[in-house]
Amino acid sequence: MTETTLYDRFERVIDTDPKLVVAVLAVIYLAYIASGVAFGYSLRGQLNSLANLTFYIGVFGMLALALNLHWGYTGLFNIGIVGFMGIGVYVTAILAKPPVAQGGAAQVGGFGLPLGIAVIGGVFMAAFFGLLVGLPALRLRADYLAIVTIAFSEIVRFTMMSRTFQEFTVPDTVLGYDLAADTVGLGGGGGLILNYASPLEALLHALYLWEPYLGFVSFVQANLIANNPRPVVDGVVYGLLLLAVCGLYYWLLTWTGESPFGRVLKAIREDEDVANALGKDTNRFKLKSFVLGCALMGFGGILWYAGRGSITPPSFRPNITFFVWIALIIGGAGSNTGSFLGGAVFAALLYEGPRYIKNLIEVAFNLGDGPGNFGQAMAALGSLDPVPFVLYTLNSISELRLVIMGVVLIWLMHNRPEGMLGHRKETAASIDLSRPGGAKSDAAAADGGDQQ
């Protein structure tokens, strides 16, 4: 019996959600490719922009999935996401950076640990701070929890920026261990230079795939992109890797949700007193959910930033937190499929879309420089020359896209607060809950709907 149920479930799942995901992704990618072709992008340009798109789909998908565990499942209003991301990356960086300071006297060193261990350390610390914040704060009502978490994330950022934590000298030995590090620290306002092997390279080495990978790069060089193909290939492969991680998040969170554990989380979201009265220690469940989500956010932060050349505190402003929230609301809180799709749509349309369009227009029409400020643009518009205003708008696209995001968020809250996918019935159980041994009476089931 289990065999058939499993198969049925598999079939049902294949029937709907993955098809939907593939369809949405296909539309997004085709739109990007088509407009790229229309505007005459080179293959290199195409691949670069697709890699970039995939990167943001990956990170926003991941973070939206993690947030869905907090908000969609457990009803925890966390707007400190970026703080946990930052903790993850900073800890990873400090653990992985080589001990000897490189890149100028202002740079601090690190512990020189293998990147894999450093990443685990980063995720662990994000989880630990989740515990630290969650332990006292999870009993607060939603809006208070929101304020506590955003204040926490700002305190994290102040700490990154502070001179006090900029640099420490590490003692030669601690408890008898000879530590490699000389100086460590958060680097202050200048941030940290990530002078360790790229995460992709480290991963491929660990999987003994580095040589084949270099072979593949040579193949690309010989056949597709003659000039310096490594960055392009790196970008594409890293993007695909992120999508794979999204898959892992999806699987982990779906199993989390479709289980007795997830059922209790859902019950907490609906009415904590009831869950309590049914013998569930709701505080423990909330804490576990919060800590797991924070760990996933920390990992998301690491995958977003740890592959860059450097990290600086301004990257960890609350804006990122709200981006993830917008992604989740687009997709629909409570649904894992919705969360990922929300992340993808947000990344493609709102985050990358406007910049992409701007690039396309710039490549297609050589419009020259725009006016330096709004006044000149308006003055020209006043004398019936719209070009400067259009140019100014295009040049301001990275700011304007935040206006668009704001308006989209307002629109969604007015018209479709349940998100793109609408109201979904995702049953919180590890098994199919229909009557064991088949339906007892179909007629009875049919009259269920009109009992209200």
Partner: protein
């Protein structure tokens, strides 16, 4: 609800017999609670006998619901003790009390609206191994979780059949009628394997035919060995169905006795019935 269901045979939910269960599962002693200077519950003491159907009545604001909340741990008493099956449970968290076998329902049925009836029911069983996160997400171990869920599911359907709400199984709890919610809530409470059930106004807002059904279920369950304490507004209903009645008034226990005794009590007539009888 269809005739076919009835004739399929009444499923029963026998209570598991435990030897150490005392004959007086619930003892409340000198319970007191004030809210900002107002004494809601004032020196309340009573006992509930095993296998009995006891009613707790009183006018609005008599302190019935507060007493309930004190017993089930939703509020902490200022003083006094609550003992359940011989163990003191005063001031324990609600989930700890529930896990000792004292289940409750709420005055206004509090359904988990965006969860289906089945999910509501599956939530209730105690000792679910899948409530430990790592078990639910570890390949291999998850199959144990699924095995246990399959066992629980069978019982869930039994109880759904017993309460005759099996046809609503896939419905969102938020879409049920008031009476159906009361049924669901009682069914859910029953699935926690309680020794005793505290029902807070289980018949409020329920139409007469459903009320009759609910009462039948209560009597049936009592015959199977469950103990009930019921808070109710409706005097007649309590008088007809309970073997013992506790009357509260202004935070105090006014009278504690059989329906006949209560009916004849001068104080009760004066304070509560106000000359209507």
């Amino acid at each position: 609800m269809s005739e076919a269901d009835e004739s399929a045979g009444e499923p029963s939910i026998p209570i598991e017999d435990t030897d150490e269960m005392s004959t007086v599962p619930l003892e409340v002693e000198n319970l007191r609670k004030t809210f900002g200077g107002i004494t809601a519950v004032d020196d309340v003491s009573f006992e509930v006998e095993k296998g009995s159907l006891t009613g707790l009545i009183g006018p609005n604001g008599a302190g019935k619901s507060t007493t309930f909340n004190l017993i089930t741990g939703m509020h902490d008493p200022d003083s006094g003790t609550v003992r359940f099956n011989g163990e003191e449970i005063t001031g324990l968290a609600p989930h700890e009390i529930a896990n000792r076998g004292l289940a409750r329902t709420f005055q206004i049925a509090r359904e988990l609206e965006e969860m289906t009836v089945l999910e509501n029911m599956m939530l209730a069983p105690k000792g679910q191994i899948g409530e430990t996160l790592w078990r639910s997400v570890t390949p291999g171990v998850r199959s144990d979780v699924q095995r246990q869920e399959t066992q629980h599911l069978e019982r869930v359907w039994e109880v759904l059949d017993f309460f005759e709400i099996d046809h609503l199984a896939e419905e969102y709890a938020g879409n049920l009628s008031g009476g159906q919610r009361k049924l669901l809530e009682m069914a859910r409470a029953l699935l926690t394997d309680p020794d005793m059930l505290l029902l807070d106004e289980p018949f409020a807002g329920v139409n007469p035919s459903l009320e009759k059904r609910l009462l039948e279920h209560v009597h049936e369950l009592r015959e199977q060995g469950y103990t009930f304490l019921i808070v109710e507004h409706d005097m007649d209903l309590i008088m007809e169905n309970c073997e013992r009645v506790i009357v509260m008034h202004q935070g105090r226990v006014l009278k504690d006795g059989t329906p006949a005794e209560v009916k004849q009590s001068e104080e009760v007539i004066e304070a509560y019935l106000g000359g209507e009888v």
